[in-house]
Amino acid sequence: MSIILAAEALSCVRQDRVLFENLNFQLSAGQVLYIQGKNGAGKSSLLRLLAGLSLPEDGQILFHGKPLSSVAELFAEQLLFIGHQSGIHPQLTALQNLAFWSALTEQQVADPYQLLGFLGLAGLEDIPCFMLSAGQQRRVSLARLWFTTKPLWILDEPFTSLDQQLIAKLEQHFLQHLSAGGVIVLTSHQVLSASYPQLQAIELEYRW
């Protein structure tokens, strides 16, 4: 099976502190990379490297066998990145935020009301997001996962402030995405409860 995303001898330094060094992994279609580690261990920094937002101190990231910098456009076309911040503007309603992200990625939402209803936001579609709870805002942000056609998902703490019911729904959706040949990279402090056929786990140690 061909390798989609790979890291070779990756190192990251922040404020003179080595977060991790000589990190290697290979991900092919249908695989999850599950990154664990204490606060400050470098999980988000690793995700930002993988999303092409910052450059590694040493080593390289390969996308379909080519260095990330040489295939940046192609990579970005296939990537859906949801970072630590939700990407939701609090002054806009759930529907408006959804419309913004669907327009930007040029991917149509068949029925936004139905999608938001499915995510437990029925009746809250038309109020500004700052009036929603943290978990509800996270739901609006994650709604993108249900209409995107991009194969590579990089998600920073997707389960934060979600309730058990929605976590179950989300993990179900992850499994669907993986069986369709997608790739997921995610960080979490939460133990994954669904059984993933091909799970790779990386534990980042907190280093001084």
């Binding site: 970072g83 806009l92 419309a99 327009a103």
Partner: protein
């Protein structure tokens, strides 16, 4: 095109919710200009003579005032980070921002210009020239302020820094715009100054959006 119109729609929705963002600069502009006749004295000849400089300085400062918060929210809530990661929509996002900034700060200045003409005792001819310089000049003001906002969005107190970066770039605009109005007031030809303003506009239109995109990428990386 569908993408761009949705982005414009989003910016307009935001302006609709955050009315202070575009009302404050307009009120500031009117307040400053209405204070001059009181402070300097209502002598029409005097006011008429200094009007070109006054109008343009007030316009500069009010546009600068409006730009500080332009990217702050989107930066804080991670919208820009995700746009930079996704790449494809970033340029459209930048052009939509610039366009809506002009619609919300430049256009209102043009619309209230008849009132300004009355306040400062401008005649029909001078008002016409004022409107033409505003039409050519305010888009340049918007382009430059968006650039300043993009460069300073990650800075904690970016306002003063932004003023320091952008004000020097405003100076040529100030000179030629008020120069055109002064020439018109003394019945000299002023098409030369207008042509220079047009050249500024075309130059800024071609380069500034690219620079803004780069500035956003730099700030996220």
């Amino acid at each position: 095109m569908v993408m761009w119109s949705s982005l414009i729609k989003r910016e307009l929705q935001l302006l609709g919710r955050q009315k202070a963002d575009w009302l404050n600069p307009l009120v500031f502009f009117l307040l400053v200009l209405s204070l001059f006749p009181l402070g300097i004295g209502p002598e029409p000849g005097m006011l008429k003579q200094i009007a070109p400089g006054l109008v343009w300085i007030a316009a500069l400062l009010s546009v600068l005032l409006s730009a500080e918060r332009l990217f702050k929210d989107d930066y804080r809530y991670g919208v820009i980070e995700q746009l930079v990661a996704g790449r494809q929509g970033l340029f459209s996002y930048v052009t939509a921002k610039i366009c809506c900034h002009w619609l919300s700060t430049g256009v209102p200045l043009i619309l209230v210009s008849p009132l300004i003409a009355v306040l400062l005792g401008l005649d029909w001819q001078s008002w016409q020239v004022l409107v033409v310089t505003l039409i050519l000049g305010t888009p340049v003001l918007s382009l430059l302020s968006v650039l300043g906002a993009a460069l300073t969005m990650a800075a904690d107190k970016g306002g003063i820094l932004q003023a320091l970066i952008i004000l020097p770039l405003y100076i040529p605009l100030l000179i030629f715009a008020s120069g055109a109005m002064e020439a018109a007031a003394t019945a000299l030809p002023y098409t030369g100054q207008l042509a220079v303003l047009l050249a500024f506009l075309l130059f800024a239109l071609a380069l500034v959006p690219l620079a803004v995109r780069q500035a956003l990428r730099m700030n996220v990386g």
